[in-house]
Symmetry: C2
Subunit: 850 residues, 2 copies
């Protein structure tokens, strides 16, 4: 039993009709705009979300009255119109109103082929949609014309045991009902929720008079847009096909015409120059009035142009940047609007090579997308081999169970990194993002045999060292062979765009950069300084590792001094280079942080080699290695604890920093003001002691060189206790930088390296709303940040506050830090552009809260 609805059932779309996106959807609103602009849009009626919901609930509007508006023999289409095009909706249904009578009439007027195509299209769509039949039943196969139509009608009758509906009202009601219900099915609801739709997102429908693309006078349909969807550069693209409907010109591309004159074949421009010009004019009007690059669906109905639909051109991330910059430069939109239109994450695609979306993918294995971008190369199973291949300019992809600090060089040498274990903030993931190397982690279905240099997939596929693969760190996939890629596009538009971002943002963006190469990258991405320079990576190079190990094994203070004397000039040289590259911008150097055992071999052979190198008995070396082993290295003797236990290390580093600062300043460059950061602090006395020693070193260096140094000392707040005791701590330092990685680990009591085994399931079950290593936990870690900042600032109002670590480049974290009054955030080099944009958007959104 159909009930009649009692509210406004539908609205004819006219320039003044009360059509809104919130009630009728994007398509209805867009069509109204086109109508207001005077574009030749066929008669259109909009059904609101409320109406469609009522239809799904069994209350059908008065379709007879609705159809009456379309004339005596109505022929209409129905299109979906949800609030956001990204949320999807059922596909369009064309030619509603076709029945045996119209068919016979069209056979007369348009010919049997055209008429049959129209009727067949409707029968098939209706059968599938409204009667839920299998599309294959309506494949005309070899048959054409009358025979094909008759076969389709017979098939319908056989399956449904009823005649194909002839009454346009019944047809329309069937279509509306099926589309309304399709929107409510569980699978489509989940799909659109995954795309960000709310649970109660509504569907609107648009009923439009058919502009027939078939007929005697030139008739057909096509699609036009005015940019290249990959580059975003101006270019008319699309196709037109005579005697076609809807998007046939695109789906049957080889049979369609080009739009503009083209050496490869006929074009609409040549076929119908007037209509072509009209179309171009409409396109230009759309761009300036709808304030974006639009794709128009048009029909030529018996020589007259009709604009059926307009949607925003789907485009690549790099095209997005190109388009918004061009629109702003043409004063179509403001710079602010340009900045707000590009989601920061989209910049990843601009910064890294991407797999050409047009390429088919043969996936070998899937993991967690840990560092964006794509790369191809030969599989290797050890960092040593990776370095050897890099030395021969042979691209390779490093595969490891998991990575450790001694793999950093190998990761640098590789084009991409794949690990079996670990999560989004595992060692591999963090380092890869820092290096800008594509990385997939947690590919748990893999089974790696390092010795045999073989890996096996869940499906039993075996890959050996040297096999060519492509890694897609954006999607988390490993593909077979070398796949075509799009190169990064750090072009003029990109620079312009981020320049605009810098003009509006009001929080500093620094970079985490450990090496001169990183510092170069930082300059390229216009970071305002280095927020975190981890010095330990400098110790993993071959020559330094030896000195480091000598230091660890030194029994006597003299031996220790010898080892440090070897390391001093190397550190100084690193710092000098970094200071020169940063040219006066601030550089915040974190003192030595990792536990000593990270510098020792993990296997018997390594230990044997080391024993030989040190000329000590194997058992001694083994004993020392054993004694340094820790149950929970994360919570062990590292950071300032090591700094206080072996104070000579920090003394050496402070000296290297100060001497480098003077050397770099001496070259005529801007004076360097180094910032020295103490890691893993949990008590203010740690800061007091280290600060005193650093000051003594500074005095000594100044006296030796007869020059004056300016420097700042600060604390990396990584333990909950350091945040709680910030008021004490700032009495001994100038700045606090919150290391949110470790702080998250300790606040949750959760090791990021071990969290991978259950994090996905935790997030899925909603135990954690998000992975706190990925999105800053505002409630817990965030409270400690705010609390630490407030307490610190109360005692020392000029204390400089920042965060460094993985959260630094994240939009939510930047907003959080800005609200908390932080001075800057610091993130890995490749996240700097994202952070600059995100910060700009946050500033814009908070200035104009619409």
């Amino acid at each position: 039993m159909q009930k009649l609805v009692t509210f406004k059932e539908y609205t004819a779309v006219t320039p003044t009709a009360p059509i809104s996106r919130n009630q009728h959807g994007f398509r209805a609103k867009c069509l109204q705009r086109l109508i207001r602009m005077g574009l030749p849009v066929p008669r259109t009626v909009a059904l609101s979300f409320e109406t469609v919901q009522a239809i799904a609930g069994g209350r059908m509007p008065d379709v007879a009255r609705l159809l009456a508006g379309f004339g005596a023999a109505p022929l209409v289409s129905v299109r979906s119109s949800s609030q956001d095009p990204a949320w999807g909706g059922p596909n369009a249904v064309l030619n509603i109103g076709m029945n045996d009578a119209r068919y016979a009439e069209f056979c007369e007027t348009l010919g049997e082929t055209a008429a049959s195509a129209l009727y067949l299209r409707f029968i098939q769509t209706y059968a599938v949609r409204a009667a839920h039949l299998d599309a294959a039943l309506f494949d005309p196969g070899e048959e054409e014309g009358h025979a094909a139509v008759a076969a389709a009608l017979r098939a319908y009758e056989a399956e449904t045991e009823s005649h194909f509906p002839q009454d346009p009202e019944e047809q329309l009601a069937g279509v509306l009902r099926s589309m309304a219900r399709a929107w409510q099915s569980t699978s489509t609801r989940l799909l659109r929720q995954a795309r960000g739709a709310p649970a109660d997102a509504g569907l609107g429908l648009v009923v439009q008079e058919m502009a027939l693309g078939v007929g005697a006078v030139e008739s057909g349909a096509g699609i036009i847009q005015f940019i290249d969807p990959v580059s975003g550069k101006p270019q008319i693209t699309g196709r037109y096909m005579s005697q076609s409907q809807g998007r046939d010109a695109v789906t049957q591309r080889e049979r369609a015409l080009f739009l503009t004159r083209d050496s490869r074949g006929a074009s609409l421009e040549e076929l119908c120059p007037d209509l072509f010009d009209e179309l171009i004019a409409h396109g230009e009007a759309c761009r300036s009035r709808l304030r974006d690059e639009m794709q128009l669906e048009f029909t030529i109905a018996a020589g007259r142009l009709a604009i059926i639909d307009a949607v925003i051109v789907p485009r690549s991330a790099r095209a997005s940047v190109q388009v918004v910059v061009a629109l702003a430069q043409d004063d179509v939109i403001t710079r602010s609007e340009a900045l707000l239109r590009v989601p920061p994450r989209a910049l990843n695609e601009v910064l890294h090579p991407q797999i050409d979306p047009a390429t088919p993918r043969t996936r070998i294995v899937r993991g967690i997308a840990a560092s964006p971008g794509a790369a191809a190369g030969k599989l290797v199973f050890s960092s040593t081999v990776a370095q050897a291949m890099a030395a021969q300019d042979e691209p390779c992809i490093l595969v490891k169970r998991e990575t450790s600090p001694e793999d950093v060089r190998g990761m640098h040498a590789a084009r991409g990194v794949l690990t079996e274990r670990g999560g989004i903030t595992s060692h591999a993931a963090v380092i890869a993002r820092g290096l800008g190397v594509p990385c997939v982690v947690g590919a748990s279905e893999l089974s790696i045999d390092k010795k045999a240099r073989v890996m096996r997939t869940a499906s039993g596929q075996v890959l050996r060292e040297g096999d060519l693969v492509t890694i897609d760190g954006t999607s988390g996939e490993i593909l077979a062979g070398v796949v075509p890629m799009l190169e990064p596009a750090l072009d003029e538009a990109f620079e312009t765009f981020l320049g605009w971002a810098d003009e509006v943002r009001d929080i500093g963006i620094r970079v985490n950069a450990d090496t001169p190469e990183d510092a170069q990258l930082a300059s390229r991405f216009a970071a305002e300084g280095i927020g975190l320079c981890r010095t330990e990576h400098m110790f993993f190079a071959e020559d330094r590792l030896t000195a480091m190990r000598e230091l660890i094994f030194a029994d006597l203070p003299e031996d220790r001094a010898d080892a440090l004397a070897q390391l001093l000039p190397m550190q100084r040289a690193d710092f000098t280079q970094i200071f020169r590259i940063m040219a006066g911008k601030p550089v915040c150097i974190r003192l030595f942080d990792p536990p000593l055992h990270e510098f020792l071999p993990h296997d018997r052979q390594g230990t044997l080699d080391l024993a030989e190198a040190l000329n000590r008995p194997f058992s001694d070396v083994q004993r020392r290695i054993d004694s340094l082993r820790e149950y929970n290295p994360m919570l062990g003797m590292r950071g300032v604890r090591l700094g206080l236990t072996v104070p000579e290390i920090y003394d050496m580093q402070a000296r290297a920093i100060f001497e480098a600062a003077l050397d770099a300043s001496a070259g005529g460059d801007k004076p360097v003001v180094p910032e020295i950061m103490i890691p893993l602090v949990s008590a203010c006395r740690e800061v007091e002691i280290v600060t005193t020693r650093i000051e003594a070193v500074a005095h000594a260096v100044q006296a030796e060189r007869g020059e004056t140094l300016t420097y700042r000392i600060g604390v990396m707040v990584e333990t909950p206790r350091a945040a709680l005791r910030a008021a004490d701590i700032v009495r001994f330092c100038h700045f606090l930088s919150f290391g949110t990685n470790d702080l998250t680990q300790m606040t949750y009591g959760l090791s990021r390296d071990d969290a991978g085994r259950f994090m996905a399931s935790y997030v899925r079950q909603g135990v954690f709303p998000e992975d706190p290593f990925h999105t800053l936990d505002r409630e817990g870690v965030g409270e400690l940040l705010v609390l630490g900042a407030e307490r610190g600032r109360k005692v020392r109002p000029d204390v400089v506050l920042s965060i460094c670590g993985e959260h630094g480049g994240n939009s939510e974290s930047i907003a959080f830090c800005r609200d908390a009054g932080f001075d800057y955030v610091s993130c890995s080099p490749y996240r700097v552009p994202l952070a600059r944009l995100a910060a700009a958007q946050i500033a814009l959104n908070s200035a104009d809260p619409t």
Copy 2:
């Protein structure tokens, strides 16, 4: 040049003189009290701290005037009198005033032997003290009488190139100066600071007329006290020696008389019955007026009794308890005073066997005193051997590099545990304290060869399996051989004493008890309930470990269910037993907490055995073991994370608890209200999910059994985030128990197992004022406790708050928790008596803030 001091230089000690302990020291004050009581104390003059400090600074008081008070031919002693007897002070100097003239006179009146003894004693003391000569120079050797005196005077002259001073004023000035300066030497200052003295602690001096213990009529000196210093029971002990001075009767015991009639020899009681009665009366007066058991130093000078000094009897901890109980029962002191007089830590000595303090010690190695008490046994190097020896009733001491959960049974079997690594809260230390087994950890100078079953000390000593040693967990020493011991004394006085404590304390004391044996102990120590029952220890027994491993390797839910079905009755039986023992007292059971890898073998052989037992390929087993390995097990998949990942485990445990509660209640015992605690929570949703499942199990068990259950669910607050989010969390539970061990680890970012390597040095340098695993960190961890408690209570005013973990038994922590309004603290069984006493003292001190 001596300057005269301008303040009150000295004070004659009379009943009304302004003598105070704060200005003149304990001895001066005590002597004044004796004088007030009318005891025959020789004339005494007190020098204040200020005077003595002036003397050390070179300003000597008017000694002539001082000595004038002692008659024409003064003969005096000087004794030190610091504020607290425990702080020490220079030894007494007797016979000041002896010179050639007095010597000649005494030769006449007392005889040559006595006169020579007096003069020789003074020459020697003076030479050593005031002239800093070697005592050996003044050893009379074979010589006696005049010859010995002449030799001593010659020796003095030869060394100092001056005559031995003859002027009593010069002598006294020399003695005063040397004693004043001795107090200020660096080594004595450090020594007393180690005993708790402030840096500026003063020294007073007491100048007293000599009561000569030599002479014709009965003369001599002795010491008397009225209790046995080890047991504290009434018993007159001491010695008297005719013709002696000071403490000669004690140092030359074999030549002295007994005090009371004694079958072994002559006694003072027989020799001078009247004087003996007088002495007893003085003793009784002292006990009731000085309100403690005093040791009196007395002299019989020519038949007349003089009381020279009185000090509180040095006594064992068990004697302390005995004495204060007796004093309170005799109404000499109040019960409150009795409670306040015994430091809680002293109870350790009462609870555990102690090495007889009279025994000489041959130390093999020293470590950190981790669990008090002493034990002797044969060295063993593995838990298996320890269990085998225990099965044969052969006492053994288990030595390990470090212990892990699979050693718990071996630790239980051993009489004592020694480890090379670890700190005060390492696994070995925590478990040993829980078991009440003496334990020394962090004996880093040891080198253990487990395979060879040998350990080497730093001095090169080699000990083998089977060698007998004694472990002293109170001092942290390992001694050679079997050393005599005092057994624990949980006697009537002890019970009475703690009964009084329970009457005044106002915070609950529960016990951490994991097994029925622990529960028995808990009952014996009168804990009010179990605050923490760790269920995982139940899984390490042989038969359970097998089922546990089957669970870990179960691929299918059915296999998992099978393994859990084996574990269920065992768990239920454990809980039933514990509930029965606790007889209606609350039992708080923590759900399974450790990471699964703790249940897997750590070596190749174990893995081979396991593979065979499970009938699986070695490589599969190895792979599974590898995959469960964690970088930071403390921060890994354990606690509620495991509970949510393998929810069947908590389901099984909840069922075992509920069924056991019904079984135990059914026996006619008091109804059991089990408390179920969820470990390692960091988000409230974890609590919500687990609570829902537990409630479902409760419903099922109630339906099956047709009985009603009462139970409580709570959260163990171990992560900083759980404390911060307490307001959310209490919405889903009834109680919060702060696990301060883990909370400390996470707040500091410091693993207790790894902290041992630098904690001692950190505390020494004052980086941490104390080891936060030992003494609750009020500033950091404490803030989280207060914050969590406040937030929890705000949302749920009746939420029950407590702490469990190592800090629970600690005085400062109990005070902290009481201030924060906590309901109870829970600690290991052997700390319960300490905690009861500490809580009582806190209540008393806060009621009467004097």
